[in-house]
């Protein structure tokens, strides 16, 4: 049983999604139960997998018992275990929130939600480049439908852009995979890494083209400047629990960049080593600058949070661009923090919008809210965390990233990251004071919000103090992860033990 644990993050949501296909009126309680149980089961599996990975050994699962490099493998190392746990934690918050009534606004919310998790989990686990494409498509197709959940003009307009861009991205992904396959003759990432080390010189141009095309695809998913234009509109238009779940989607892109380039283009790849680094570094800085301006300019709370996601993307990619073990460790800590907190903020923005009635999430004066006190407290905690002010987790995350930069990198990263944080400080304090303090006199607006919504938001936002309290063990884990990532030879040896003899 224990060796099959690795495949469960893919199987559980798949089976749950199939169970949820059964359509009939009045089944909403059954659907909610199945969906919540499946998500909790996934959390338990993820905890089990982290326990397996924490020992430092890399384990793989050969589907159909076809051994690598011939079959498709699922690979579990510290990084994938961490991402699975993060996904499950985020999904629980989102699904509890959705059970308050958002799931009834369209059809089959829970089934699509589970399939989205299937795609995300699969992308984190797979060790095969083409299989990564397939899981990307699964998560994208589910996300298209989830983005449209509930309908409405804004959502459909945002979806058209999102879908068309991602379809173009998928085509590019296939071209890149095709080029890499043509040049190396394999699709298994570990095998490809090994073959790249002994690549004939005349194929280097081909591989460079393929690798940089992959960077474009992952950059589109991660929403890097200049490929981010779909993100603010799509995230601002999506239903709240979907937007919260989408907080992990940009991180799928960042995970893919980390995985592919640290494994395949590590120091052993000769002249091709770290070929993405300069691109990522400068694009990350540009993303930070643009996102800082966007945060200030946003006139709607949900749009503001979407730009906060963009700031986190810039910060994370800057860590990828530095490429040292310290930077990778720092960015992983920051990644956990930012995913949970921005997810919580999306949910919170929706609650504020519901309670303000006509004013919605626009940052304008409105009537005072019935539960203004509680919402304001949560907004305060979320803002402190996301800006990166002590004592919450954002401060530690950003300090770690800033500390990881060295030499001239500091000259670029420090001012840009600090200015972007200042921009979010200004924007969030303006939004908070307008919505909670500058309210007009008059009767209270809105009705009491369902308890499940509070539960979902508190679940996600409580990550901020918890990450500080557990900063020691978590950073020990991320440091070990970074160390594992910068020594890809161990992964290759695990997957292909015979390769040494063959050479």
């Amino acid at each position: 049983m224990i060796q099959h644990l690795i495949v469960l993050p893919v199987i559980v949501p798949l089976v749950a999604g199939i169970l949820l296909l059964y359509q009939r009126q009045g089944l909403i309680r059954y659907k909610r139960t199945v969906s919540v149980i499946a998500t909790i089961l996934m959390l338990l599996v993820a905890i089990g997998l982290v326990n397996m990975a924490i020992q430092g050994e890399i384990v793989y699962y050969a589907l159909g018992d076809w051994q690598p490099p011939f079959g498709i493998v699922l690979v579990l190392d510290r990084l994938s275990a961490l991402m699975l746990l993060l996904t499950a934690l985020l999904a629980i918050g989102a699904v509890i929130y959705a059970c308050a009534g958002d799931d009834e606004k369209g059809s089959n919310f829970h089934g699509l939600f589970q399939w989205q998790l299937l795609g995300i989990n699969g992308a984190f686990l797979t060790g095969d480049l083409f299989n990564l494409f397939v899981f990307f498509e699964v998560l994208l197709l589910a996300s298209y439908a989830l983005l449209l959940h509930g309908g409405g003009k804004a959502r459909i307009q945002a979806s058209v852009h999102y879908v068309v861009l991602n379809l173009a991205g998928s085509s590019l992904f296939l071209i890149a995979v095709g080029i890499l396959y043509g040049a190396t003759g394999t699709l298994n990432m570990a095998d490809m890494a090994q073959r790249l080390a002994n690549l004939p010189a005349e194929r280097e141009g081909l591989v460079t083209a393929g690798a940089l095309m992959l960077l474009v695809v992952f950059g589109l998913k991660a929403a890097v400047v200049p490929l981010y234009f779909w993100l603010p509109r799509a995230y601002a238009a999506a239903p709240a629990p979907v937007a919260a779940l989408f907080a992990i989607m940009t991180k799928v892109g960042i995970y893919a960049i980390l995985r592919v380039y640290t494994l395949m283009f590590s120091d052993s790849a000769g002249t091709l080593a770290a070929l993405e680094q300069s691109w990522i570094w400068w694009l990350a800085l540009a993303t930070l600058a643009v996102a800082g301006v966007g945060v200030i300019a946003a006139r709607d709370l949900r749009l503001l949070v979407a730009y906060l996601v963009l700031i986190s993307v810039g910060t994370l990619l800057a860590g990828v661009g530095i490429r040292s073990p310290e930077a990778i460790s720092a960015l992983l800590y920051y990644l956990v923090h930012t995913t949970l907190v921005t997810g919580g903020l999306f949910l919170l923005a929706d609650m504020i919008g519901q309670q303000r009635g006509k004013a919605g999430t626009r940052i304008v004066k409105g009537r005072p809210m019935v539960q203004g006190g509680g919402l304001a407290l949560l907004f305060f905690i979320g803002s402190i965390a996301v800006i990166g002010m002590p004592p919450l987790s954002g401060a530690i995350g950003k300090a770690l990233v800033l500390n990881a930069a060295e030499g001239t990198q500091r000259l670029w990263l420090w001012p840009l990251l600090l200015l972007a944080s200042l921009a979010s400080l200004i924007a969030l304090s303006r939004a908070g004071s307008t919505m909670f303090w500058r309210s007009q006199r008059g009767s209270l607006s809105g009705s009491v919000l369902p308890r499940r919504q509070w539960l979902g938001v508190i679940w996600l936002l409580s990550a901020a103090p918890l990450l500080v309290a557990l900063a020691g063990p978590i950073s020990a884990y991320t440091q070990a992860t970074a160390e594992q990532l910068t020594n890809p030879q161990r992964l290759i040896d695990t997957l292909l033990p015979d390769a040494e003899e063959a050479l």
Binding site: L141, Q157, V163, L174, Y181
Partner: protein, 110 residues
């Protein structure tokens, strides 16, 4: 054969790209479809073009790489699903916005 194949793929990609960049949803959908055809052809050719070769390694060493064929099959299936979805989405956008511009704008500046 390689030249003809390369030219075909190139022309399809160029047409697909041009149509994808148009302002109306219908050309965009056709453009995406053309691009996916081009990508399928491209993928197919990445194992090398072999005529009259078995898809299994034979004694004489002449064989067609079977993996790209499997990849193309997967890509075609996914491409069909995506095309169906984007067509429906374009119809919905047309009925919600009242026009078929990708940005949902009324005025026509094309």
């Amino acid at each position: 054969m390689e030249t003809l194949y390369a030219i075909t793929t190139g022309v399809l990609t160029a047409c697909g790209l041009y149509l994808t960049l148009r302002g109306r949803t219908f050309p965009v959908v056709v453009g995406l479809t053309l691009t996916s055809y081009a990508v399928n052809l491209f993928l197919f050719s990445m194992g090398g073009l072999t005529t009259d070769g078995a898809a299994i390694v034979h004694g004489d060493g002449r064989y067609a790489d079977p993996l790209p064929q499997a990849l193309v099959l997967t890509a075609i299936v996914i491409g069909f699903a995506m095309t169906a979805f984007v067509v429906i989405l374009a119809m919905r956008a047309r009925s919600e916005a009242g026009n078929d511009h990708v940005d949902g704008k009324k005025e026509d500046r094309e």
